[in-house]
Amino acid sequence: MASKGIKDRVAIVGMGCTSFGEHWNKSADDLLVEAAYEAYKSAGVDPNDVDAYWLGTVGNLSGLTLSGPLKIPYKPVTRVENFCATGSEALRQACYAVASGAYDMVMAIGVEKLKDSGYSGLVISDPPNDGTLGSMTAPASFSLLAPAYFKKYGLDSDKGKDVLSRIAWKNHRNGAKNTKAQFQKEVPLEVIKNSPKVADPLGIMDCSGVSDGSAAAIVVRAEDAHKYCKNPIYIKALSFVAGPGEGHLSPDYDFTTFPEVVASAKDAYAQAGVTDPREQISMAEVHDCFTPTELVLYEDLGFSKRGTAWQDVLEGFFDLEGKLPVNPDGGLKSFGHPIGASGLRMMYEMWLQLRGEAGPRQINEPKLGLTHNLGGAPGRCVSFVSVVGRNLG
């Protein structure tokens, strides 16, 4: 039992990504139109060339959310949602549709318009229920990782806080080089470390922001890719898993890992033929919703051995100039997290980096990139891992 994957069978030939931030003067329709038309232009195709669409968004319930503003003439538009991995899920479905031969060219697009709600942080409502589900906020859910990780690996709270702050500092440092980011400023370590507490030990600067944004990708069969662009990027692996929620039921789970991420990474590496991710992966965009998430992800994705990611962090291993740059675009930390858009925004950075178009953030000759998107909370989540590459084979 294993997923077989579609290595090198499909390629991305065009992408678009709006700037992420507080778009007070733009609606979700505006953002979708901008990301879609940027993608059409990037691939050099006419809107009529696209045969089918996958729309990732949490706020709206149907494909009409996309077909209306784009005036898509009587074509399939599928709206998908899978928690915070929604954008990646749209891409995965779109890629499989092309690989199946059902369509020649498709678009995956994601959008979220969070700043119109007036609420602090993300708000996702539950269906009618018995009132026992609890109401933990996202930062609280993820902060459960921190004391557990610190205790297991012998970090006192001050040292632990240094490690978490270093992750946020690194992501903001990368975001400062990105004109599409919500926050384009470096933030001093001391400011991060002493930011007001949101969910102890997490301060406000350990949390990703709340923003609006949209991103889109055009996908074709690999053998057709050069009809549209000189340097497409090839899908090496797409893995998606939903966990059984054991972490909330069984004391075996210790809140220092996401078993869902371990499973999806293992699957993705098998599909892509990656045997040593720390050496083979050139760069990664990971789901840094909160700083302890990124810390644990380094180990779950096989970038660091168990219990050593904090040392890699302090040594700069994941910095833009490090051995394995993580979140070179600034991550959720610099972009905020418009849910449906985030997974495709991560892929947009891979698109730029693999094609040598990342400007001041450009990593030297990257070959393989990884994106990781996560939805839910420690103990009960969904995880997506993709591997993409510059070359076939």
Partner: protein, 469 residues
């Protein structure tokens, strides 16, 4: 003869120093402190604590009746006793009623329970609780306290027999509150004291002692529960009672708790009572109820896990500001978060044993306890091999935790804990009655039934963890 088989008491964790009220309002301070139900407690949830404790020590038959006395019922229409019965996992074949309208409803509940036993019910539970408000600057705000107590009444294994009882009812105006009003009004004190309380106490005591064929000098202890403490001195003088026989009114440590007060004073002295002791209990308000109890030899071996004294010792302060917020006397800026949604009727109905009783499941194939109830085992994946398994009385340890400052709460930060139960099972929930900066991995916790929030008039009850008291 019907009598008390077991009892349980509950004094909430928080205390408000009376001087702290005086300091803010600039009014004269009275001595001591009062108990304060937490922001997530009400009369029903406190009664659940007392009833669970009482039931732990009750043996000898099925519970067939539950009477809940309170002047502060969470629901004006909807049976509050049903919430308590569900949370205490009592059987559904049970006579249940709320008794309200007067703080005398406490002893009335106990008498109803005794009558039910007298007419053939094996065990009957009398629960009583109050969470009364007093308007700021008033005497009641300082003098009142919040608490609950419960007695299981039966005819076997009795620790205190009810030898006689007497009840009087009079119509007079002393304390009143109309529907929709939050604070009670009261008439000038001397009127009720001289014309109602003193005469009623005298008649009730004389009558019940005659019925029990007991002289005042035969009494080991006297519990006098009255809205006006001056009435106690007058009764003591008239009956020529030694001060040592007068039960502690708990005025300095807990406050006047209303409906449960007579029961709470009784529960407080029972652990030290000796077989053969006679105890007079009398409660006056809108009339008077009195009973004479005789402590039996069985009391000598009765060991309650929790005592009123222990509950009084286990405490933490609340500021007057927080008290005003908790009781929603002081309105606060609403959070920039959506209002909580009311829980839905059908899912609550389906989940009654889980939501109210905290009953999960255990896999019959591999023995793994798990909660909430599951159909497929988390461990061995066996399908539909589950049996009910209660976590309500299980203790556990904190596996990890967080302090959520973003979540809306009347008492921020919200402390969330992952608990691993002794004997198996994990649960993620809120922790209450704790000092957030002292929470640590490995802390021992126990479960408590609380009101999480109220939305559209629906009280959402569920369980939280708290440090073991």
């Amino acid at each position: 003869m019907a009598g008390i088989v077991s009892y349980g008491s509950y004094v909430p964790y928080r205390r408000l120093k009376r001087a702290a009220i005086a300091q803010v309002l600039g009014v004269p301070a009275t001595k001591g402190e009062r108990s304060v139900a937490s922001f997530d407690e009400d009369s029903a949830s406190m009664a659940v604590e007392a009833v669970r404790e009482a039931l732990r020590n009750a043996h000898g038959g099925a519970v067939g009746a539950l009477f809940f006395g309170t002047t502060t019922p969470p629901y004006a229409e909807k049976l509050n006793a049903a919430i308590i019965a569900a949370a205490a996992s009592l059987p559904s074949e049970i006579r249940a009623a709320d008794l309200t309208g007067s703080v005398r409803a406490g002893l009335a509940a106990l008498m109803q329970a005794a009558d039910a036993v007298g007419s053939g019910t094996s065990l009957a539970v009398a629960a009583m609780a109050d969470c009364r408000l007093g308007a700021p600057e008033g005497k009641a705000e300082q003098a009142n306290g919040d608490a609950a107590v419960a007695f299981v009444v039966g005819s076997d294994n009795v620790i205190a027999e009810i030898e006689a009882s007497a009840s009087f009812t009079r119509e007079f105006l002393d304390s009143w509150r109309a529907p929709g009003e939050r604070f009670p009004h009261s008439w000038e004190e001397r009127f009720a004291l001289t014309q109602a309380y003193s005469p009623l106490l005298g008649r009730a005591i004389q009558t019940v002692l005659e019925r029990a064929k007991v002289a005042p000098s035969d009494l080991a202890k006297v519990v006098i529960d009255t809205p006006n403490p001056r009435a106690i001195d007058e009764v003591a003088r008239r009956m020529k009672l030694e001060p040592a026989k007068i039960a502690d009114s708990l005025a300095l440590t807990v406050g006047q708790t209303g409906t449960p007060h007579a029961g709470l004073m009784l529960a407080n002295l029972l652990p030290a009572a000796k077989p053969g002791d006679r105890i007079l209990v009398v409660s006056v308000a809108d009339g008077a109820d009195a009973m004479v109890l005789r402590v039996t030899p069985a009391a000598a071996s009765y060991k309650p896990a929790r005592s009123v004294g222990g509950m009084i010792e286990s405490k933490g302060d609340v500021s007057y500001g927080n008290y005003l917020k908790w009781r929603e006397i002081l309105p606060t800026e609403p959070p920039r978060r959506p209002d909580p949604e009311r829980p839905a009727g059908p899912p609550m109905f389906r989940a009654e044993r889980w939501k109210f009783g905290f009953v999960g499941t255990r896999c019959k194939a591999c023995g793994t306890p798990q909660l909430p109830p599951q159909r497929v085992c988390v461990k061995c994946k066996a399908f539909d091999q589950m049996e009910p398994y209660s976590f309500a009385d299980r203790t556990g340890r904190v596996a990890t935790f967080t302090l959520d400052r973003l979540a809306y709460s009347l008492n921020p930060p919200t402390v969330n804990v992952v608990i691993d139960f002794d004997g198996g099972g994990r649960f993620l929930c809120e922790m209450t009655d704790c000092e957030p900066d002292k929470v640590a991995i490995g802390d021992q916790v126990e479960m408590t039934f609380r009101r999480l929030f109220t939305a559209d008039g629906v009280h959402n009850y569920f369980w939280k963890a708290r440090p073991k008291r």
